[in-house]
Subunit: 210 residues, 2 copies
């Protein structure tokens, strides 16, 4: 029975959760590629939503690329303060990774209003000025992915990695499709689902595997 | 086609999202109680997961109670920094609401380790010392709900409101069932699902409706 109390020590809760997730995936007949499994399972751990096992896509070699980027102190830019709050900053800072979110900068809000664009897309422009490789994480705003695509096409930006997991109903699927055949290493969740918590889970899963 | 671009101005994206959510709920034959609809729709907006329409439960009069608590400058305690990051602090601070999260306090971590309990349950004990009414928001840790239940039974705590939306697989459903017949005003999502983002969406939906 799901509602019975399981006696599990604090240190064991996460391992037990992952065991239950693995068991359920087995029951569902879903076999995850070994290297991708920890990432997809952590997203399920964060959402209790097994549909991510069918929609979360990791481009070839992307996990190694992201590990390399972290080891080489890349900058992570997040589109929300929630992702920023959710990622394991201690672990990332050990590698010298800087983590930025421009979303609540007052000048970003002002500029967005003046130009009638979203704060998310102004934030992408701010990120294009960062020197060194950038991992761009989009957990909320499809307009960020759309702006990324435009700046990449105009050669004004060249992100080293894209996490594309915005959530919602207006241009969310459209924004992800822009990266369907992208050569930029990426992790994308096809469809409507995603979220700031999903973006954080993906980043954490990669760091915990290092 | 879902992947076609919709031209929607930044100010209209949210309204358009809610229109799409309402349309889909209609198609699904789901009729939400008028007062509860903005909260449930905002949770769907945050997750793109319509299952919340069937599992999110708001106890009788709970919305008015929470509005009252906010108007009277209650304290909101969250179990994660992600919820803290996701709630509209500006709006809440206008009412004099204080928002606290004990999760990353170093002494909480130390005490949890020493006593072999979770940081979430030590955080609940910290919150029991707050004077004045407390809205306790649990978006992640079922152990926080379990500790809340224990302190309430021991009359060591009397939260004015409980948001119970932990997510996961170990004691998540059990922890929610403890509050099935609770007289404390509550918003609970039955089942495995929930999340820090869901907790933030619930709080924001109530504030935006004030």
């Amino acid at each position: 029975m799901a509602a019975e109390f399981m006696r599990v020590s604090p240190q064991e809760i996460e391992a037990e959760s992952f065991r239950i997730i693995s068991e359920k995936l087995d029951e569902m007949g879903i076999v995850l590629p070994e290297k991708e499994a920890p990432i997809i399972k952590r997203v399920i751990h964060t959402t209790a939503d097994f549909s991510f096992a069918e929609t979360l896509t990791i481009s070839d070699g992307a996990i190694d690329t992201m590990r390399n980027l972290i080891e080489n102190a890349a900058t992570i830019v997040t589109d929300t303060n929630m992702t920023l709050a959710g990622i394991n900053k201690k672990r990332l800072e050990q590698y010298g990774v800087r983590i930025k979110c421009f979303m609540s900068d007052e000048d970003v809000a002002r500029e967005a209003k003046e130009r009638n664009v979203t704060r998310a897309s102004v934030s992408v422009e701010r990120a294009s000025l960062i020197s060194g490789p950038v991992i761009y994480s989009v957990g909320n705003a499809p307009t960020a992915l759309i702006e990324l695509d435009e700046l990449i096409k105009k050669r004004q930006m060249n992100p080293a990695f894209i996490i594309g997991v915005p959530v919602g109903f207006v241009n969310v699927e459209y924004s992800k499709e822009l990266f369907r055949n992208s050569k930029i290493p990426h992790i994308i969740n096809w469809g409507n689902k995603g979220g700031s918590n999903v973006a954080a889970a993906i980043i954490n899963a990669i760091v915990y595997g290092m």
